[in-house]
């Protein structure tokens, strides 16, 4: 095992997967010579050559659209979107091509491609460098979505996404690219899509989170330690969702707080809440509550902290459930 940061773990996954499978390639803006804005693709161009680590023009629709063509010709492209919001120009290709092609060709064609991007706030960046766009992707039929919260999962989920026969969008919490270190298995390491992770066991209240909100949930659980026993569940794969793990974690405590950084309305947390409403009714002792961002464009600096779900807001929500 090596101690790596989250972004180093992603880089490690690339080196392993490109070595393992000659059909895997990487493309995006500044991924080659510069090794990516966050250095996620560092060293790939030197090691695997410019045809397997392609510096593209600044053109996201073109990147994803040509990845579709590459898939048709047998490649497994991994496309980098430089930041979360810069994936919006490629939504057209994602929705109109990527998500529906297998279905409408009766399975004759497959799209084993990956779109990955740094997502989320907390890094004092200007606007449109801080978005949490997961709901757009989850809502697109035919597209899988994974969001790691630890270095080991960042490596393992990316490897799983690369090996998956279908398109997978991987969102990486840029806030923790360099601030989170952890043990990462060396060599091949795959975390299967569709399996949630129990971060800690508890009996009184369950915090459900993914991505950058998982460390926050853990901090909130620490803060609640003297009062209650808190379960923390990391969803890891938003689609396909590990519904059994969600229902089990809810049944254990009967109280669920869902934490989501994205704006509130119609966010992924609403989907989780709906599933609990449909299937966990008899296990719940209190309403399911959400701690989320607000329905505003993601703001800068000083106001940013007011936007972000905080330990206080999560603790407060948990206490409200316990008093219900």
């Amino acid at each position: 095992m090596a101690e790596l940061t989250l972004v180093e773990a992603i880089n490690d996954a690339f080196h392993v997967e490109l070595e393992r499978d000659p059909d895997v390639m990487v493309m995006g803006e500044d991924v080659g010579r510069a090794g990516g804005v966050f250095r996620a693709t560092a060293g790939l161009r030197d090691r695997f050559g410019p045809d397997r680590c392609v510096d593209t023009p600044l053109a996201e629709a073109g990147i994803l659209g040509s990845a579709v063509g590459l898939c048709m010709a047998g490649w497994r492209p991994v496309c980098e979107m430089q930041y979360d919001a810069f994936s919006y120009p490629c939504l057209d290709q994602l929705i109109t091509h990527v998500g529906r092609y297998r279905w409408r060709t009766g399975g004759a064609m497959e799209f084993p491609l990956v779109v990955r991007m740094p997502y989320g706030g907390g890094v004092r960046a200007p606007e449109l460098h801080d978005d949490s766009p997961e709901a757009y992707y989850v809502h697109t039929p035919g597209v899988k979505v994974a969001i790691p919260s630890t270095p080991a999962d960042a490596k393992g989920l990316l490897a799983a996404a690369i090996r998956d026969p279908d398109p997978v969008v991987v969102l990486e919490p840029k806030l923790h690219y360099r601030t989170l270190r952890g043990e990462v298995p060396e060599g091949e390491h795959v975390v299967p899509l569709g399996e949630a992770r129990t971060v800690r066991e508890g009996t009184d209240v369950t915090l459900v989170a993914y991505g950058a909100m998982v460390p926050l949930a853990e901090a909130a659980a620490d803060a609640l330690d003297d009062e209650v026993s808190t379960e923390v569940l990391d969803i890891r794969t938003l689609k396909p969702l590990d519904e059994a793990a969600l229902l089990a974690a809810a049944a254990k405590t009967g109280r669920v707080v869902i934490i989501q950084e994205a704006p509130r309305t119609a966010g992924y947390g609403a989907e989780l809440a709906a599933i609990l409403a449909e299937k966990a009714m008899l296990d719940l002792r209190a309403p399911v509550v959400r701690v989320t961002g607000y329905d505003v464009p993601y703001p800068y600096w000083q106001i940013e902290d007011a936007y972000m779900p905080s330990v206080e807001r999560v603790v407060d929500a948990a206490r409200r459930l316990l008093e219900f």
Binding site: E29, R33, L58, P126, Y294, V296, W301, I303, D305
Partner: protein, 348 residues
């Protein structure tokens, strides 16, 4: 093979006068270029002091291009300057203290602390604030031009874009619509030869970006973007041509990005000799030399301008630091119109 016209440098003071600038104007241009660089140099220091959070971008090397174009615009014209175009804000009259306030996320910045960097503009001065997405402002500029055409207003829109961002569909869509409708818009390409780490030969395959103009049915011009007078002359021509109903122009200002993409980037991928070659084309130094040779700029007058700029910026910085941080409880305000917003002439 180049298709676009390659603009000549401007020679004499007489020639400049014919293009519409008298000596006072020239000194104003010089001053605006100094303010532009001064703001960004101070911003750099503020960043190192931790007073500007996140990232910080400058337009070092692009001062002549930005100031030259903006000087050629009339008051009633509009523009969509980008992250290398601080000189446009300065030339249109944005007060430097508000720019420092913007950098530091203060309530008195043009975005009221909701956004940072040069993602700002004062709409009262005819400028529209950029969004991060490049070149998403080009269709916006075209929309302004369409409005002017429909209302038969003698106004022109100027849309800026980088050579790297010219690869995106927005650029094509904007230019095509502008060409089809012969709209009063001028496209300005800040070609600083790098899109982050990506060199021009991986961005486009024509000799010049401006060569594309022909395909959209209008004229393309390449101008030395470090020569403020040549930029001014070409912009003036293009803007007046647009105003007169003769359609768009694409002006490509050739410069070098004299620093990294942003402060965190050491530009290790740029060949050293490229920086060395271009160092002799520093736009401010070039214009200073020209003024001394052609417009009798002497030591005393130069000192006066330089110290005036210094004083302005020092005072601006102090004022900006006194500006409060925005109130976090205002977070949710302003997403939609309020009843008060609806009580305006536009809605009545």
């Amino acid at each position: 093979m180049a298709i676009a016209r390659e603009a000549e440098p401007v020679g004499s003071l007489q020639e400049v006068k014919e293009a519409g600038l008298d000596r006072e104007d020239l000194l104003g241009v010089y001053r605006n270029m100094l303010i532009t660089r001064g703001i960004e140099e101070r911003g750099h220091i503020l960043y190192k002091q931790g007073k500007i959070p996140g990232s910080f971008y400058t337009g070092r090397g692009n001062e002549a291009a930005a100031v030259g174009v903006a000087t050629a615009m009339d008051d009633q014209d509009v523009g969509t300057p980008l992250h290398r175009d601080m000189g446009v804000h300065i030339s249109r009259g944005v007060e430097p203290w508000r720019i420092f306030a913007q950098y530091m996320g203060r309530a008195d910045g043009p975005t009221h602390g909701r956004d940072g960097n040069v993602h700002m503009a004062d709409s009262r001065l005819g400028l529209l604030a950029m969004v991060s997405h490049l070149p998403a402002m080009l269709p916006v500029a075209v929309g302004c031009a369409l409005a002017f055409r429909i209302r038969e207003e003698k106004r022109v829109a100027v849309g800026w874009f980088g050579e790297g961002a010219s690869a995106r569909g927005d650029c094509h869509e904007a230019m095509n619509l502008a060409g089809v409708r012969k709209l009063p818009v001028v496209f300005v390409c800040d070609n600083n030869q790098w899109a982050y780490s990506t060199p021009t030969y991986l961005e486009y395959a024509t000799e010049h970006v401006a060569d594309r103009a022909e395909a959209y049915g209008f004229e393309g011009v390449v101008v030395d973007g470090t020569d403020v007078l040549a930029v001014y002359r070409e912009s003036r021509r293009a803007i007046e041509k647009a105003r007169g109903g003769d359609g768009p122009t694409l002006i490509e200002c050739l410069t070098l990005r004299m620093e990294g993409h942003a402060v965190h980037d050491d530009a290790f991928y740029v060949p050293k000799d490229m920086f060395e070659r271009w160092a002799s084309s520093d736009p401010i130094e070039r214009f200073r030399t020209w003024l001394r040779e052609h417009a009798e700029l002497g030591d005393a007058e130069e000192d006066e301008i330089t110290s005036g700029v210094k004083k302005l910026l020092n005072e601006a910085l102090t004022r900006a630091e006194e500006s409060p941080l925005p109130d976090p409880s205002s977070l949710a305000e302003g997403v939609f119109a309020t009843p008060e917003d609806l009580d305006t002439p536009h809605h009545k």
